[in-house]
Structure formats: structure tokens, C-alpha cells
Symmetry: D2
Subunit: 420 residues, 4 copies
């Protein structure tokens, strides 16, 4: 009997839901699609499915079940991502070379581990096994992160294919004009940010602490493709004075003249989406921009990017709803209401804040201590989740992070400004 | 009714045999296996199957059938290898990223083109359509080259996989000692080499012409793994004086200390083969060595590599038989008879001759003129075919060629020396 | 008559002093020494001497003197460093290829510009020419930055020379044991940091604003070479768990096993200094470490790096004295007194703070606006100046910055910790 | 008393002449000029002066003088070029970083070694010391090769400097039209090539042996800049069909659209020479072209490059005179006479022959065995010497060699064709 009244029972249900959503995301993809690695940042779908399984097998089954035998002696080597403490691992850039184990073997791997996990979970006690249950919960959030990565990655994989394949069939979003840009003001003061309390959060969201903010205002909505086109027409990609020095070098070295996935065809801009290639919709939020581009745009617009304290304070009081992975669009939608909107879902919003530990932050012991802390350098924080983020994975304290040159994640921007 | 008494009829039969052998070679491989590109020199099996089909579609069907519509508008871009005259093409290093067209679509492509080819071939006249028939024959030899490439490439693909996959099940060769090294002497003089007459040959085998050779001798058989192990034990990979300067730089930059595919496991040398990983067999010919290594070994052995005139003169009188692709070993076998042996099959033999055009050589007009001539720089000639070469593809005038650092082809060496 | 009672007069005197100190620093170096560029981060001494002169010529003489003719039409191209607004420029990595203009021509360039500058300065009015005088002051601080760069750079240039050349003769510092590590506590609160008032400061030090700090303590002195040796012996460079992920990649890619300039000779560690190679002195502060190394050491020591607010608050009340360029050691000296010491001079201290603009920061208009703001990404702040920094160039609000992998500047570290 | 009647005496005189010519070539160059290394193929003048000295010190003084102490313990490391047998050496690409030893120290090094050499030479006996005298002669030819390298290299060094410096003052050559292209025919047969007899020759010119040539013709003179301009106007650099595959890749990767040192200024082609930048003279031979370019031009012109046997047979009967280094032009001059001309001097002529050992070639024992043989791969032979080659250094059997992509040597081309 399912013990849904216990935490272990609830986690069992959630385990099944999360794991099955991963399978659902992989469903439109052939074995060939699931093998391709189009750049070293990208991992194959097959690898995501195996690696998330390895996480449960390694950190839970092998730790807690005395008689557990790993499904395959090589999977520890093949499917470890970056845990130095766990041992040697297959080079990241070569994940697309592994035609074997076959996709079928990976599907079996998932099934075997799921059965073992569910059987084990059914025997856990909320009190005595709290640490293990915490780790199961972490594993599920880990898998949800990989669900988003799976979609980001397969989008890139399909984008490098000259025959313009699509991941799914979906109606293009409305081209109805969006509400005009407006500013939501906030007063200066010491504001508390970061996670506190019982719910799940990653270590990098803790401890809750105060930061000082000045008088500021946030734009009501995300910057649109139409506004981005104005920036491009105003020589935004050709004016060195708008750019950080390293950003300008990147623009020149990479030949950037538009966001990632934009492509001029017969004189008009098109964009590659998970639903295929279609004309750029001026009403929809501009996506797949680097921090360098977001920063240059804000400078051109006479504004700036929000700091993460400013963003979190504004988001804290609002309802956590938006366009998320469960909606199945996998693409940002135009803003449709007046007032401060799109804080959650649609696109991750670049902040002006470098990714550092909060005062008092400390990493956990053991391998899972490698989860967040060791990446706290040369990255910028993004907030709010995107159209490829599972809805129950996001929080207003959630800190995502990417290097300033990265573009393959679902990133966008919201303007901010100081108020005199 | 099949007109086997005509050349067109014979070519129809041969067309079916060659095309079907390609399919047979792909049979042990999954869709995933057929997609992987493990380095830029390697092409995926799926690509080989499509590219050889594109050759017939582009140079024959599209040229000769007024109402022929290409199977897919993008295949000309995707499956052109290096024909500048035919137009733009997909970057070579990205062939492993094309999960679509799917393997099934490529199989269909082959079927459709085969039907059109056979239907068209049945209407050809030996006299009036001689040029077209010549091109069909070239296309079949082209496909046979890709059969060998397919095997070379899939061997490399499987070799980079940490779980040691095999292409097929096959018994390991005999470890019976081989005949001792002996020298077959030849007298100095002007000898004629190169192709002449009616049979098929590539343009680079023409024209037949005389070259001067001195008194020389050839080793009776290929150098074995056992002899190579002696070279290694004698610090062959650590003595700069044995190597060409560029070879020595390569040894150091690549960390070479053994032939490609050799791997020391628990203190003893193993080798990756298409039949899986197994201990090195001292009796079998050493394979997958670069020109640099062959040259260094010969210097260490107090001998040298044969020049191509010396090799061809020795081979001309002998029977064209050996261990070829049709034998299904896909691996060199130990020499088993006394006397000059292994000239054909087993392994391509490095010669000391740079790959240049013979005196009077000229390239054909049009795209097929790009077949050989434009590669006549920075490559060395190899002779005799290998265990992955189709038997009816080889001739004693056949000139294969690779850069001196390449190792993923089935290459070996036979010693030569001057005779006082 | 020198009008030292005016700002213009005082600046004239300071102009002469600063410019002449640059010449003094170049004096021990031959024309050959002054030409070498040992890596792209490094500039030749000759280039530093020319570029600082170009700054005055371009931003002052050419702006303010109607009849001024540039000394050489190509110098604008050759000696612009990174000012996009000023136009095209010679590639940074090729500065060491310019044997011409000769060193003598560059010396003449300095003389001609100095004469024009001093003549022009003598005619300026403190009130009417305030903007120009501000820019002269900026130019002098710019030249002082290049004095430090000149010493950093020539240290690197000489370090790559196998014959161990020295820049100057200098006595090695005392090896007397330093005061033991002790902690200076500071109380939590809102503290004001950043520049305000009349004195000179760079734009990146403004505006003054409040930040929140917790209860914390700073180590009394810099970490020593002796302490660093303990870290090395404790496998500090071989334990992945101590490092940021990108730091660990750098350690492995670069083969780091000690600070830059350390070299094991006959079994004992030596260090390259501007005074030549000598045994590592355990008492002196460890220098030429990257942020990655400083961060790993702090983690190993159970401490952390200070944030810049913590550092500045501690430094604000103290006397601005220390071991600076004018002392002529050009090398950090062991701490010699108890209490909080070495805050200024000796070595730049890595902080845990990414280099971002203070709230309300804005860049100046025109080319000099490129001075600081455009570098505010992927860099960390260092504080306090070093033994190669001119004494009157530093302030407690001064923010230096380098990428986390850089090591050729005079960087060290001071530990910090939270106080419960 | 000088014993010019002996070989040792003659070599003493020649030693002084050769060594002093090196000094004369360096005279127009400052210490700064002599330090620069503009790419890794190039060596600084100072290095050439030191390395040639090291050759005499290492292979003669240290071998034959019991009490000889090397001038500096580090010079063996710094000034060894590529002799693996002699030991470790300073990385080639870092030769431009050695401001010390100073130019003055290198001049002293030359003086000390010269004194020791001349003193020792005066004591040698032609019979007993034949081996040593042979090595002295090799050392002098070695130094002459470096005289040419010095000029090639300094030309490149000055070419990367945006202010267009010149090495020397020299009148531009006549622009008088050259004799029209005409063909000198030669009959087919077995012709003997290679060195035999008493005079000096490098090992790669031996042994003399026969090769077969067909009926062929050589162009009377070198291809001119005017003819090259026609090739350029006929889209020579944009037609893939004219190029070897690797050549075409190089054209695209390097953006080649003209010979090295050509630069379009205000719409007309200029060329960098050792005498400065000046308009391209259509009458003078085109220089600084790669093998790839020479081969493409010949194909465009409906001709081919000569094979080395064809060239040597034509040159054998002619007078060894031409425009050499002693003429002091250091630049090719227009052909001025009818008939087969420019075979010697002006420019090295690319042949269609890969650089391989002649039948029977063997390398010498010891370090000097590394002189030629180890470079016999991936290079093409050039013949005849250039305007920077000393006149008494060249022979009709002399084989120079460079990789097919190299352009910084004084290379040109003469057309050849088969005669029916």
C-alpha cells in the first residue's frame, strides 16, 4: 500500500512522476537523436537519462543497500559527470561517441534502478532515514535540472542539422503586441534574501541574509525580439562602446550579429525553436542571449540589469506561476498582462550579480558537496526559471548560473534602473 | 531478362553485388553505431552508405535521366565529400551530428537509387554509352573504397569506447610461428610500372612507364607483432636517431609508444580488433602503424622500405590472392607459407615513395578529375590491399596513399634492402 | 618661475617626478631587455615608456594645443593599448616584434612630449582648466600603474631566460621568523566603502556606499612561503576537493605544483626574483599566486578570503605605509611587527569579491570612460598595493583586479574568517 | 705565415671570409633588430650569429682541443638548433625572448671561437687531419646556409613592422620588359644526377645515379610578377580546380590572395623588400611563393613544374653565375638576356620532386648525420640558389627543400612541359 501520508511515500510518488517526465521528454527522439553531442557543453539525451540514474544508483542504492550490485561495472566511469570524489570519468567532450551501451540498455538501466529505488523507498522511515530521504529529494531536483538540460541540449543538437529538424509540433505563439514597457518601483532598504525553512533548497540559496538595495525599478516584462531588432538596427553588435571588453572580443571572435538560433533567410530573421524554424515574432521575449549581450543591450537602452537582491525582493511576494515545462511549449510566450509579469517561467533572467557564496555559505561534506560551491567563479546569476524548467523545481530564491559567454540555455533579460 | 553477355549486363550484376556487400558490412551495426564519428578522419557508417549512393545519383542519374528528381534536396549538400566542382558541402568534422536523415531514410535512399540505376542500366548500350558505363564502373570501385573505409572507421569508432565493443565474432588467428625472415633478390634494370590495357584502373596508375631500380631484395613476408615488440623493447620509440624529424615530433606530441590500438593491460599488450580486444599475437603482421613508425623500424632493422617500382615489379608476376574482405576476418593473418608471400591482402605495405603523378599523368575533366590528382602532396604510397579490401578491387598497379602520420588504416610493412 | 602654490604648478612638479621615475626604472635594462614580450599579457618596457607618453600626447596635447603635430604618424596606431574610441591599434601579442622605432626614438618621444606638456602646463589656470588638470592627474596615475606593470613584466621576461638574469642587485630579506598568525576581530554592521571627497580616485572607487558585513576577523599578516610549503606538502596541489572546478582544471592543464617563479633545484625550492634566483625564504609572504590558489589555500586552512568591504573597513583607519616601489626592494618583505600589518605594500591581497561596479557607478564619457568599467567581468578584486606599487599611487579605496588564473602580478593573500 | 698552398691554409682564409661575411650582413641591424623572432620558423640574427659559432665550438674545438673550455656553460643549451644527439635545447619558438646573452656577448663569443679556430687550423695537417678539415668545410657551408637564413628571417622580421622599415638602401631594379617566354627542349633518356668527385657536397646530393626523363622543355626564364598578376586577375586564388586539395585549404585558412609580402595600397600592389616597400615591378621574377602557389600557377598556365632530374640535366652544362648574395641586391632581378637564363641565383626554383634520399643514400654517423636525412618527408626540392645565397655555396647538384606551404624563403618558379 502506498503510504502517501508519509514523506517517504510522497517521495515515492514524486520519484515516479519525475522519472517518468524524463522518459516523456525523450519520447519524440530516435536512438540516433539521443546520441548526438553537438558541442562539449551539450550532452546527449541518452547520457542525461543514464547520468541521472547513476546519481540514484551511486549515492543511494550503493550507499544504503548492502547487497546491491551495480547494473554495469563501467557505468560509474561513463556516467559520472564531475564528481571528483567518486573517481575517474569519461571525458565530457566524448559523450557523443558512445553508441554502446545502446539506448535500450540505458532504458533497462533506468527500469532496474527505478525498481530498486521504489522498493527501497517503501521501507524507509521518515525519522530514521531523514538523511537518505533528503538525498532522494536532491536526486529528484538533480533530475529536474537535467530535464531542462535535455531540452536545451537537444535544441542545440537539432540546430546544427542543415535540414531544420523539429523536436515537436507546436503552434507558434500569438504575435499580438505586448504591453508597453513600464517600470515597477521599489524602495531602498535592507532586504532579506535566500532560503530559510523546511522546504527543499540547494545549498547555494543559503543562508538567508540581508543585503542593501537602493531605490530602484524593474521593467514590467522581459525584453522582446522586436526591441532586440531595434538594438541590432542601431548597430548594437558593431558599437564597441556598448560592450564589456571581453564581450566585444567575443562578438568579434565568434562573429555574433544576432542571438543564438537567429538566422537570416531571404532577408528576414528566422529562429530555430524546438518546434522548428519560423520567422522571429517581435512580441515574444528575446532568448538565448549571453550575459555580454544582455549587458550591452541594457547599456544601449540607458538602463542596467537587476542585481539578484533586487530581483528576489520583487519576486518574493508574487505568485509562482508562469510558462513552464509542463505547459509543453518549450518556448517563451509574449507577455499578455499589464503589471510586473513573467518573473517566473518563460526565460531565465540575467542579473548583474556574479555567482558567489552567500555570507556564511559552506559546502556539504562528501561528493554532493561538489554540487554548487565549486562553480562559484566566472559565472553570473540568472533567476526565475524558463519555459523548459519544471514548475515544481523553481523557487524565488533559486539561483541559476552560467558563464557570461554562454547562450544555449533559455536566457533572457529584464531591465532595471536606479530611481533618483 | 538479364543481358549478362553485355558489359552493361555484367555491370548490372556487379552493381548489385557491390551495393549489397556494403549493406552486409553495415548489418552488425545499430543505428547508433552507424552515426558515430570518432575523429574528423573517420566518417559514420551511415554517411558512407549515403555518400556512395549520392555518387551514383549525382554523376549518373542526374546527368543521364532527364526526368530524375533527387531523392532529397539537401542530400547534395550533406553527402558530397570533397568535390569542389559540385558545390558547397557539409563540414567533414560534423558528419557525426546528423541524427537526421535517419538510418531508415538512408536505407530508403539506397533502395530508390538502386532501382533507378538498375532500370537505367538495363537500357544502356555497350557502344553508345561507353562513357556512362565507365563512370558506373568508377562508382563501383569508389563504393569498394568506402567499404574498406567503413571497416577502418567503425574499428576506430568502437576503439574509443571504454567498454570494448566488438564489430563481429571471429576466431583469433593461429599463433603458430611464421616462416623466418628471408630475402627475395631482384636484379637492377629499367622496369615498367603502371597500368595499361582495357581493365579498370584509376587515373593515378597511368601512364605505364619505365623506372630504374638497382639490385635489391624484398623480405619474404610482413613484419610481425613479435618483431615489433623487439623494436619496442630496444627503445625504438625513445631513440630520436631512428626517426625522421617530423616523426619524432609526432611521437613526442602524441605520446606514441606502440602501434595504434595496442593497450597495455595488467602488464601485457593487448590489441583492439574488429573482433574485440585480445592479447597481441606475435605471429601476426603488425598493423596500424604510421609511415614514421615503419620508417623508424626499417632503420632500426638495418633495412629500408621498398620503393613502389620495386614492389610492383615483384608483385607483377605473382597470383593476386590473399586475405581479403570477402574472407570476413577483417584482420591480418600470420604468414603461413615460405617464399615471397602476403604481397596482396592482409595489410597495405608502406613504400618509400611519395605519392606523385607518374610522368605524363593528367587529371580527367570535370568533377571526377578531383578523384586522385589533387591529393598528390605530403602523402606516401602503400601497395597491395588489406584484409578489409574487396578482392576484386585490388591490382598490382593499385596505388593507395596516406599522410605519414596516419595510423587508422590497415597498414603494415615489408622490409627491403639494397644488394651489393 | 614654478608656481608650486597652484594646482597646475604642483602637477608640473609631480609630472616631472612621475615621468622621471619611469626612466629610472628602465635604467638597468638594455635596449634588448626593453624589447622582449614573454607572453601576451606582458608588454615590453619600451612599449610602456611609449604608451604612457602616447596617453599625454593623445588626450592632452592633441586635444588642447591647436598647432600640435604628433611626433610620429604611426605612434597612435602602435601605442594605443585598448581604447576602441581612438581607433585601430597594433595587435597586443606583437609588441615584442617592434625593433623599430628604436629605444632611442622612444626616449626622444618622451623628451619631446615632456617639453610640450611642461610648457603647456605652465600656462594653465586652476579654475578655467580644471578638466584638463584632472586629466593630467589621471595620466600620472596611469603612468604609475604602468610603472608597476613594467616591473611585473620585466620580472616575467627575465624569468623565461634559462641563464637566470637579474634586474638589479639587492640584499635578500631577513629570514627571521615572522609573528605567529593572529586574528583581528571586527564587528558586524553597515560600513561605508568607496571614495568620496576631493582627492584623486579612479571611477571604479565611486560612489561611496554602504555594505553589510558580519562579525569577522582578519589575519594579522600575509600568508608566508613557509605556510605555503606546508600546503604543498599536504598535497594541496593534488586534492581536487580544495579547488574551484575551473581552478582544478587550470592546475591540471598547466601542471601547477607551486607558485609562479618557484623552481625546484637540487631538491630545494628556489624562486626567481627581480634580484635573481635564490632559495625560498619561509619568512617572506608567498607571492605570484592566482586567485584559484589563494582560494584553495584558504579552504585548506579552514578560513576564507576577505570580502572587499571587510578589507577596506579594516584598512581605513590605518596608516598608509609599507614596502613600496620607492623602497627599491621590488619584493615583499617578511612581517616584522605584531598586530594587523602589511595591509599596504608588499603584495596585493586577493579578496573574495568579484570586480563589479559599485551601486550607482557610471563610466565617464569619451575614451577615458574605457579605463575601468569595461573590464568588470570575470575578474576578482585585490587590495592594498605591492612592493612594486608607487607609494603615492595607492589608497585604502583602491581596487585592483585580475582574472582568477593570473599569476604574474605581485599577488598574495591574507586569511579571513567569520566570527560566531 | 699563411699556408695558402695547403688545404688547411686555404680553409683558414675561407673561414675568415665566411665568418666576416656573416658579420657584414648583421652590420645594418641594431641590437633590437637582431633580437626579434617574428614567427617560429624565423630565428633572430643574434641567434644565427651564435648558433653558427656553437657549431664550430661543439663539433671542432670541443672535439679536438683537450684543454678547451666552452665560452659559456649555457650556450650548448641555447644555441643547439636540432641536434638530438647533442642534448636538450632551448625551445625554438622562444629564441626571440633571450635579451641576454646580449648582442655584445655574442660578438665576443664569435671572436673567441674565431681565434681558437684559426689558431687550431694553423696546426692542422692536410693528410692526418682530413676528417677534421672536412668538418670545418661543412661548418663553413653551414654558416653560409645561415647567412641566407639570416636575410630571409630579417626580411620577415621587418615585414611585420607597421612602419615599413628597410634593411638597406638599394636602387630598385629596371622595369625594362623581359625576354618573352620561350621553351628550351631536351631529349628523353637516362641522365646522371647527383654529386661525385672531390669537391664539397652535402650528403643529400649523393650518390650520383641515373634517372629516366622524357622529352621535355624548360622555360627560358623565371615567371615574372607581371605574369603572376595575370594569374591573380584570372581568379587564380579563387578557383579550387587549380589547386592541390591541401593547397586550397591553405589558401582559404590563410586568406592568401597574393604572394607573401605583397600588399595592396591605394589600389595598387606593393611589395616589401629588404630595400623597403615599393610598387610591384612586373618585370622582376615573382618571389616568396609556396609550392602550392607555384603548382597552381603552372596548372593554370597549361604547364607543370620541372622534376629535379630535368632541372639538373639542363643546368649541368651551364656557367654557374647569377645574381647572388655578394651582389648585394638581396632581391631577384629581371631576366635580361635571351636563352635559358636565371638557372642560378635570383630565386630558388620549385621542382615537382619530393625531397627523398637518392638510391643508396645513407646518413653519416654521429650528430652531423642529422644534417639532412631526417628532414626527408613532406618537403619539396628547390634548385639553383637565390639572390641571398652566397655564390660559392651553390652547385648544380645542390638540393634545397621546404614544406609546400612555406613562403618566407626566396622561392620562385620556372615552367616545364612535356614535349610530344
Amino acid at each position: 500500500m502506498l503510504r502517501t501520508s508519509t514523506r517517504a511515500g510522497a517521495l515515492s510518488l514524486r520519484y515516479q512522476a519525475v522519472r517518468s517526465f524524463t522518459e516523456q521528454l525523450a519520447l519524440p527522439l530516435s536512438a540516433e537523436d539521443q546520441l548526438v553531442q553537438s558541442m562539449s557543453d551539450v550532452s546527449p539525451t541518452k547520457w542525461h537519462r543514464a547520468h541521472t540514474t547513476w546519481f540514484f544508483e551511486t549515492f543511494l542504492l550503493m550507499e544504503h543497500l548492502d547487497d546491491y550490485t551495480p547494473v554495469h561495472p563501467a557505468f560509474g566511469y561513463l556516467y559520472n559527470s564531475y564528481y571528483e570524489a567518486v573517481g575517474a570519468r569519461h571525458p565530457r567532450a566524448e559523450r557523443g561517441l558512445l553508441s554502446r551501451p545502446s539506448l535500450q540498455e540505458v532504458a533497462n538501466y533506468r527500469r532496474i534502478v527505478d525498481e530498486a529505488m521504489l522498493s527501497w523507498l517503501s521501507r524507509l522511515d521518515d525519522e530514521k532515514d531523514k538523511v537518505a530521504l533528503d538525498l532522494v529529494e536532491l536526486g529528484l531536483h538533480h533530475e529536474q535540472q537535467h530535464q531542462e538540460l535535455l531540452l536545451m541540449d537537444i535544441k542545440h543538437v537539432l540546430s546544427v542539422n542543415p535540414i531544420d529538424p523539429a523536436y515537436h509540433d507546436v503552434d507558434p505563439p500569438s504575435a499580438k503586441p505586448v504591453p508597453p514597457l513600464a517600470w515597477s518601483p521599489f524602495e531602498a532598504g535592507a532586504v532579506a534574501i535566500g532560503h530559510v525553512g523546511d522546504g527543499f533548497a540547494f545549498d547555494n540559496e543559503c543562508p538567508r541574509h540581508e543585503v542593501l538595495v537602493g531605490d530602484y525599478a524593474l521593467a514590467n516584462r522581459l525584453v522582446t525580439c522586436g526591441e532586440w531588432a531595434e538594438f541590432m538596427e542601431a548597430d548594437g553588435y558593431r558599437r564597441a562602446d556598448l560592450w564589456l571588453s571581453e564581450g566585444w572580443q567575443t562578438v568579434q571572435a565568434q562573429g555574433w550579429d544576432a542571438p543564438l538560433y537567429w538566422d537570416k533567410r531571404n532577408g528576414s530573421w528566422h529562429v530555430h525553436t524546438l518546434g522548428g524554424v519560423r520567422p522571429v515574432n517581435p512580441a515574444e521575449p528575446v532568448s538565448h542571449i549571453s550575459y555580454f549581450e544582455a549587458d550591452a543591450f541594457a547599456r544601449w537602452a540607458g538602463a542596467r540589469l537587476p542585481r539578484e537582491g533586487e530581483w528576489e525582493r520583487a519576486a518574493e511576494g508574487t505568485t509562482l506561476s508562469g510558462n513552464f515545462a509542463e505547459d509543453g511549449l518549450f518556448h517563451p510566450a509574449p507577455a499578455s498582462v499589464a503589471g510586473l509579469t513573467q518573473l517566473f517561467g518563460d526565460l531565465w533572467e540575467w542579473t548583474a550579480s556574479p555567482y558567489v557564496g552567500y555570507p556564511g555559505f559552506s559546502v556539504a561534506d562528501g561528493a554532493v558537496g561538489e554540487y554548487n560551491g565549486k562553480f562559484m567563479i566566472n559565472q553570473m546569476v540568472l533567476r526565475g526559471g524558463a519555459a523548459v524548467t519544471p514548475a515544481d523545481h523553481i523557487r524565488c530564491t533559486y539561483r541559476n548560473f552560467f558563464p557570461p559567454h554562454s547562450r544555449w540555455m533559455f536566457s533572457g533579460l529584464r531591465l532595471a534602473k536606479d530611481v533618483a
